[in-house]
Chain length 407, copies 2
Amino acid sequence: MSLIVQKYGGTSVGSIERIQAVALKVKQRRDQGDAVVVVVSAMSGETDRLLGLAKAIQSQPAPRELDVLLATGEQVTIALLSMALQAIGCPARSYTGAQVQIRTDSAHNKARIRDIDDARIHADLNAGRVVVVAGFQGIDEHGNITTLGRGGSDTSAVAMAAALEADECQIYTDVDGVYTTDPRIEPKARKLDRITFEEMLEMASLGSKVLQIRAVEFAGKHQVPLRVLSSFEEGEGTLISLEEEIVEDAKIAGIAFAKDEAKLTVLGVPDHPGVAHKILGPVSDANIEVDMIIQNIGADACSTDFTFTVHRNDYAKAMEILRQTAESLAAREVHGDQEIVKISLVGVGMRSHAGIASRMFEALAQVGINIRMISTSEIKISVVIDEKYLELGVRALHEAFDLSKPA
Amino acid sequence: MSLIVQKYGGTSVGSIERIQAVALKVKQRRDQGDAVVVVVSAMSGETDRLLGLAKAIQSQPAPRELDVLLATGEQVTIALLSMALQAIGCPARSYTGAQVQIRTDSAHNKARIRDIDDARIHADLNAGRVVVVAGFQGIDEHGNITTLGRGGSDTSAVAMAAALEADECQIYTDVDGVYTTDPRIEPKARKLDRITFEEMLEMASLGSKVLQIRAVEFAGKHQVPLRVLSSFEEGEGTLISLEEEIVEDAKIAGIAFAKDEAKLTVLGVPDHPGVAHKILGPVSDANIEVDMIIQNIGADACSTDFTFTVHRNDYAKAMEILRQTAESLAAREVHGDQEIVKISLVGVGMRSHAGIASRMFEALAQVGINIRMISTSEIKISVVIDEKYLELGVRALHEAFDLSKPA
């Protein structure tokens, strides 16, 4: 007998019919002899509906009260799913975050889970019941209702799996797994059977939005095997696990990309110690997150060129700040470009395999793509290129690294 | 400084605009220097919407899960009202039934309140906050969410007022008080300034549906002064209080009526001890509630005639049962009539004033109304008449007892 935590998102429980379909899936698993805990989100559209009510009253709703309001979304789902399970002869019991004691800090709207009291759940599982838990929500030490922020149900499920020492945490969603890249860009993209936590983190943060980053981090930290699979199709999905369990000898897991970046460059900055801080300090003071940062020697030996990327929404503000900084630093000029895209090759295999970077640059050069920026880490190489080359670049790399063939 | 518990029903909080109007009313009261606890229902229509979702899954939804589902209705309202209060500069904090520890028994869907932990509320009130509590719901000793059944928010408010030893419990609704009779039947009906708990119980149970009976009983038992008033109009409403506080010398408080009754008669039952039980036992075994019961001597001295009334919905079933009973008892015949109505004169004053009954019968006779049944209690006289005489009868009695003039 295994102990499985399953998580179904808003689309998977978006109607009575879908909730009934989920009930069947859950019952199937239980009928195999496994103990099942189900974590659910609010029915799709419900959180937005509630948020709309709140915003009609306050443009910045009081965080504590917003959590009281939003927590009702999942509470509706747990009740309906428990009814649907009982209706097909599967004993079930629902719990809100407060009832099952998902204890969090007091950061309303973005709380973090501290611990979970598993006694009640184990008692129900031992009695043969499926336990249905409201995701996304918890309770702080004063008994206030908290929420983990959007998408937090993934984290609830992983935290639940960790607390229960579950054999696997299964995240049911509307895709059937993690792909080598976005199939809308490269139709030959292949579903991965396995991927490591580190690779998944890079893939997720770079735009392949399948799982919440925090959930993956949490799963990695607590070594909870995580599986992404489809609510609507049969299949084994993708297992996210520790590196040592990955048997494939793949160098590259996949190709991620980010379309919403913009780059800013300041040229001819007098090269003194602390110049990077002087440039980026005012930007981060304005709460603008900086992604890639590159500093090069300038046209003459005593000056430097400095480039960084930000989210495209922050471009105008960042540019305004940078112009002021450039003036005070007596820099030569300031450039900006919003029509860029970042493509990243991700894979733990590149640690032990030389030549990945040069093969990447070669593949891009062969199709005539000029690289604007390069940044590397242990398991990732990112390049910034002109936006118009996005599809071409992704396909060239997918081809060059043979990603459409199973490793 | 007074401590006031206010309760707003579903219609009063049926939209964002109405919630904002309630917030203004609450703030007004607090600005007068009073401490205010607000108990709210689900927004009108919400409970039915949730019930619809449940019934789409199970025709008889699991009671525990139904409570988890329905309790979200009030939770939405408390969050929105607290936001609306904060938006106009009035500090407020919301509590679910579980958070404020409204402890009930475990009878899901129709739980009864056992006690309320008032420590948390007093702490908030002392800190100058308005406390907004979800009505209709509580928590049992095992931490399960319970609901008090439809309309239970009135009871929540009264229980809250009793636990806090509030100076007054104000029930805001869509009528501006308790009237001498239904103004749709008698336009001259007058709003009462005061009424006793006993009178209110009789008026409520007989069809003047302003307040939940259980709430009135609870208020009477715990001597909580109760006031009914309108959410939409200004005014003092009607105060429901103990008899000794009623200064008016009114003989009659008002006229109630019930349009949905039906009467059944069995004639010529051999008059043996225990015959009433033999007739009514099978009826109550079928879960049919019996209202009036009258037994008379029959046409001959050794038989009896027996009449009782039931809700019109139960008439067919009751008649079927009665026919079987009549046969087994060798009764002469069975009659039934669905076109009847019950009119009741209610007033604690009639205890000490003789002649009320005869004046009532006289008034009805003067307009040619034949009385089919009579039943009396200490503070009430009820008659059953033909349905077609309802309006005529109510108006004749309203006139005869001078109810349109202030006492």
